[in-house]
């Protein structure tokens, strides 16, 4: 009798333990793209970085407010204009159990910056480290990063890099690094089914993570799966069906569906992508500033944000996003004013209105048509033409050559939230992202000075001044910074989106 009772008790205890063993602790993300490689140094792709970042930690990272925090480093100090010293945490191990030392840091950065250091190839991420010249090992847990020239944005750019294990890379080679992982991150690789999914599981020897991002410790969930679903409708369907718990790139017009579903909700975060209409400043009607300003006055941007983007965007009057470093908070606003618009057009020689063409990519077609509809109230006829993004890029981002087109609805991202990544490419004369042919030597000079200025306050002031100058010229119709939209399951807690579009799942829990 006792034996039977014991068996029953064991059975009941086992059954109670079962839920914690089952894969209810498996967090699935419906992700819009696959990782290209799993080698942190061998790609140049945001989606790849998002996936890798869960398995490889970096010297520093960012929190949800985009503040740079120490991660594998315990602290850092700037010794002089070109030298930074980083103290590493003790007791950090890679997934294979080997300890992290400054040898690994030096190896990681040498591999990223030296020519042909990656099995005969140069790392495509080399330029993200700017003038980094060398890494010196001070002792087992201290390194110094030495720059060629002063580069104030080094801390802001370091979160883009992850630390690899010297011994591991030497044993598997760059080829092996493509699909094998040995990192210091909260999750380790189980399997990469290319094109289909990346399967990870919790690393129980995790050092705990950045001290500034609570809670510190092992990851909350047992397994994480990034499931690749590139098609928007399919991704949303997967969320609604409960197949996945987080989806990225939720299109604005599907927000209602996700909100209406009792098991899901939408999470939004201020993006880092500035959307604007580039106007051809070189030739045609927009060479005249009065026409450019007329269009700005004729465009009711808030209406478009409310109707097309569901209110999920913040208007901008200069190129920098509201939270960016150096943002000029006092830019003049070219308000929506139809009379002023018509008056300016008449003054510029278009008393009876004007006809122009707006080039857009397929995904921006709706927004383009909304812009056209709004502008028509001022007697402006806009014909919206859809083209492929790389072809439009070639026509407008001409590096100073003649532009083929009049208006181009486009955007530029700024993952580091530092102006150098967005202001320079889009506004500097003949730079690679300048789609309006804007050329102002004064602005160029300010940008150059800010690029090397090490004093933060002075640097911010330089960018603010540049932004004011540029805004006065109205080379673009500055539109908005759209929020990044994510759909999540109501079972999810401990996670919120970050402006740099990372999906870090260390603290995410599934209830």
């Amino acid at each position: 009798m006792t034996f039977k009772k014991t068996l029953i008790m064991l059975g009941v205890a086992g059954a109670m333990a079962l839920p914690t063993l089952a894969f209810s602790q498996e967090l699935r993300i419906g992700f819009s793209a696959d990782a290209l490689v799993l080698d942190p140094a061998n790609h140049r792709n945001r989606a790849t970085e998002t996936i890798i970042r869960n398995m490889y930690d970096g010297l520093v990272t960012r929190d949800s407010g985009m503040t740079v925090l120490p991660e594998l480093a315990e602290s850092w100090t700037q010794i002089d204009a070109t030298t930074y010293e980083f103290k590493l945490r003790a007791g950090v191990t890679f997934h294979d159990g080997s300890p992290l030392t400054s040898e690994d840091i030096k190896f990681t950065f040498d591999r990223l910056t030296k020519e042909n250091a990656m099995g005969g190839q140069t790392s495509p991420r080399q330029s993200l480290l700017g003038p980094l010249k060398e890494v010196q090992i001070v002792d087992d847990l201290t390194v110094r990063l030495i720059l060629e020239t002063p580069w104030p944005i080094l801390p802001a750019m370091l979160p883009f890099q992850e630390v690899v294990s010297k011994s591991f890379v030497e044993s598997v080679g760059t080829d092996g690094m493509t699909d094998q992982v040995n990192g210091t991150g909260p999750f380790k690789l189980v399997e990469w089914r290319k094109g289909d999914s990346v399967i990870m599981e919790r690393y129980d020897g995790y050092y705990g993570g950045a001290a500034g991002i609570e809670p510190v410790g092992n990851a909350c969930v047992q397994r994480v799966i990034f499931k690749v679903i590139p098609e928007n409708a399919s991704r949303v369907a997967a969320l609604l069906a409960g197949d996945v718990h987080i989806i990225d790139n939720l299109p604005p017009h599907m927000v209602k569906q996700v909100e209406a579903n009792p098991d899901t909700r939408v999470m939004a975060v201020n993006g880092t992508r500035s959307t604007y209409v580039a106007l051809n400043n070189q030739s045609g009607p927009f060479a005249d500033i009065r026409v450019r300003q007329a269009f700005a006055h004729a465009l009711d941007r808030q209406l478009i944000v409310d109707k097309i983007l569901g209110g999920n965007a913040t208007l901008i009057n200069g190129i920098l996003s509201p939270d960016a470093f150096g943002k000029n908070q006092n830019l003049p606003v070219l308000e929506f004013d139809l009379d002023k618009a018509k008056a300016l057009l008449a003054e510029a020689g278009y008393p009876d209105g004007i006809s122009v063409t707006l080039d857009v990519t397929g995904s921006d077609k709706e927004t383009g048509e909304a812009i056209a509809a709004v502008l028509s109230k001022a007697g402006i006829q806009v014909s919206v033409v859809v083209g492929e993004s790389s072809m439009l890029s070639t026509r407008f981002r001409t590096k100073g050559e003649p532009i083929d087109g009049e208006m181009y609805l486009t955007s530029w991202g700024n993952g580091s939230m530092d102006p150098v990544g967005i202001f320079e490419p889009t506004h500097r004369t003949a730079d690679r992202g300048n789609s309006s042919g804007y050329a102002n030597a004064a602005v160029d000079a300010l940008l150059d000075a800010a690029g090397v200025e090490t004093d933060r306050a002075k640097r911010a002031a330089l960018y603010s001044e540049a932004e004011a100058l540029a805004a006065a010229d109205t080379p673009f119709l500055y539109l908005w910074v759209a929020q990044d939209l994510y759909g999540v399951s109501n079972r999810l807690s401990g996670w919120s989106p970050i402006p740099d579009s990372r999906i870090n799942l260390h603290d995410a829990c599934l209830n």
Binding site: F23, G30, D34, L36, V37, D39, N42, H43, R44, N45, Q121, T122, P124, Q126, S127, L128, D175, T178, E191, R193, K194, G195, D196, S197, I199, R223, I225, K227, V228, I229, P230, E231, A233, S234, R235, A237, A238, L240, A241, G242, D243, R273, E388, S390, M391, S393, T394, R395, R397, W412, G413, N414, G415, V420, G421, I422, E424, P425, R432, G433
Partner: protein
Amino acid sequence: MNLGKFVERLLQLIPVLFGVSTIVFVMMLFTPGDPVDIMLGDQHVTEQMERALRHDMGLDLPPVERFFKFLGNAAKGDFGLSYYHRAPVAEVIASRLPATIELSLVALIIGLTISIPLGVLAAVKKNSMFDRIATVTSLFGISMPGFWFGILLLILFAVNLHWLPVAGRSGFSFEVEPITHLLLVDSLLRGRPDAFWDALKHITLPAITLGLPLASILMRVTRASMLDVLDRDYITFAEAKGLSRMKVIGKHALKNALIPTVTVAALQAGSLLGGSMVVETVFGWPGLGRLVVESIFVRNYPLIQAAVLFYAFTYVMLNFVADILYTVLNPRVKL
């Protein structure tokens, strides 16, 4: 079968592959869009860095030189490195190919199993209500765009009914050691009925979406061919001999009626490769079609070139298979 004919076909491959390579190369040359620019996206880089990347990708060479370098290497089996995957193109394609092959095969099977019985019945019951419905349905089947129909199926069966999964090729608790790299086959060979069932659930919706236009075409072909055969003298003779209707159709008519069906199926199998691009994108199927579409958008030239060569080769071979099948089924015709 004559070995000489086979060799002749293989030799015909050479000008085809050369012609296809040249055309695709020229097309991509004149298509605006710079792979380096696309790869760098919104990143901020110096001129020097951009030049270094361009050199790394081999894009600073003049076009003619690039082309002949590619041909020379391709002849040795080296198709270059994919710009994005930083791995040999042949490897990347090979890793994604089994998924597309499996999807195409299942779609082909679905297409044949639906179309042949329906086509035969429609012909036998010509002009009946059944025939009319079948004909109109096949019209829908050919006309419905894959992305629309696929998403409809998704919404109905995956989201609303929860009967089938939304995307992907397999669930995550199933690991089957590959033998043929076809999940359905491997899971059976390894004695894993649970994995088989899971793979089957995942492949159902994409295969139906891909197979439906094929089924519609084949149904029409079967019906027309069956009607033609049923009209022939030898059928009338068989009926006059007193053979049952079933035997007449099943034994005498069917084999001949299926000749066009099978040959069209072999030819259409090539178009399954093309149709798979849309279906794979909708269903997140990790196959070659989706890889090629993505590569075109980012101008991943080496991968596009190699994939196009692969498709051309497959088409030529499928044509050859169709010709052989035809001679096998109809001994009066020689290759």
